[in-house]
Point group: C2
Chain length 194, copies 2
DNA sequence: CTAATCATGTAAGGCGTTACATGATTTT
DNA sequence: AAAATCATGTAACGCCTTACATGATTAG
């Protein structure tokens, strides 16, 4: 049984598949729109290009987790609006409560930091300050979005945007940490002894 | 000019290549040993299997950034000990001061959190508490390692292990944040209104 | 009239994991 | 006697990015 087989619901769903279900559970959407939605705030934690999304939607449909309705689109092909099925909701609900599988960490900033002794300290300090700036700007954005959500009552766990609120709270705390750490190491490299 | 071309030093080096140089700048090593070194603490931020490391070392040698000396090994093949070259040191020093290229975020926990409303709140709370536990255990490990480094004087930026110290400081702060956030959302899901 | 946006797909190639393959030495 | 460790490589396959391909509608 190949992966493109239709009419079976027991095929393994990739994390990307669940990411799409996370969006589709909030309402029907086209592949194009899903690509656009993979921005704020979920795009801070998961992204995908349309070249990945279109084949994945076809797989989800083959597994019976979504269906689509086609209509006339702007281009040469039909526009397809995807909707999550009851099986899709069940599959998502079960996946959500499982602890995440550990994925390989990829943090280039910490990789550089591990070898910080092999570079010029002043140039490294400048790099860290530039990163502090970048994270500081993101922090300001996140704080603004968080305040807007709080105003709409999204701190309540029953609110439909509570998920946005909770992820943004993490984002704010993480950016604060990164700004503080970057400033700490920069000052260490400039003022510090030896 | 293909990637396997020898005797040229201008070929693009991948991030994995620089990760290996980050280790080799501390001293010569075999591919096997590099795979083992990609654990504490650099493995918290970057990992690779031996199947990736061996071909990458050959590419680095083709680019003139490392050399190797062969001796008799335990198995059917020769044991190769790699050493960073002066060109390798220069290339690394230049790479270190560049700000990291933005890589696609992959945070499965935040992905799940975005769709938290589609799952059973109590089961989600249990999952978050399990994660808080896991991160709490890592936090204890990191704190132990950090204290050992501090005792050896690694807070000094001139110390050969200052890189380990700085990355671990980030690790401790990050794990603290994750534990606190997981506990916050778990209590929100259990006690919270609605 | 030019550019952006909407909309869907495929192809080539890099990166990374798992599994296959070999075999000596040391520990249990 | 069996298992773990040391040590190096290749092959198959999945995930992901970049680039190729098409074309209507709308905004500047």
């Amino acid at each position: 049984m190949t992966r493109s087989s239709r009419s079976q619901g027991s095929l393994a769903v990739s994390t990307l598949g669940y990411a799409l279900l996370c969006l589709l559970v909030r309402g029907p959407s086209t592949g194009y729109d899903l690509a656009a939605q993979l921005r704020r705030p979920i795009g801070y934690y998961w992204t995908a290009r349309h070249s990945q999304i279109y084949p994945e939607l076809a797989r989800l449909e083959g597994a019976g987790l979504v269906t689509h309705e086609a209509g006339s689109g702007p281009g040469p092909r039909e526009k397809k609006t995807y909707t999550i099925t009851a099986a899709g909701r069940d599959s998502l609900a079960e996946w959500l409560v499982h602890p995440p599988t550990r994925t390989a960490p990829k943090n280039e900033l910490m990789l550089r930091t591990f070898a910080v002794g092999a570079a010029d300290p002043l140039r490294m300090a400048q790099m860290y300050l530039a990163m502090a700036n970048e994270h500081g700007q993101r922090l300001a954005q996140y704080r603004g979005q968080l305040a807007a959500l709080a105003d709409n009552g999204a701190e309540d766990r029953g609110h439909p945007r509570f998920g946005n609120y909770a992820t943004l709270r993490f984002g704010v705390a993480y950016e604060e940490l990164r700004v503080a750490w970057c400033r700490w190491i920069a000052s260490k490299l400039v003022d510090g002894p030896s």
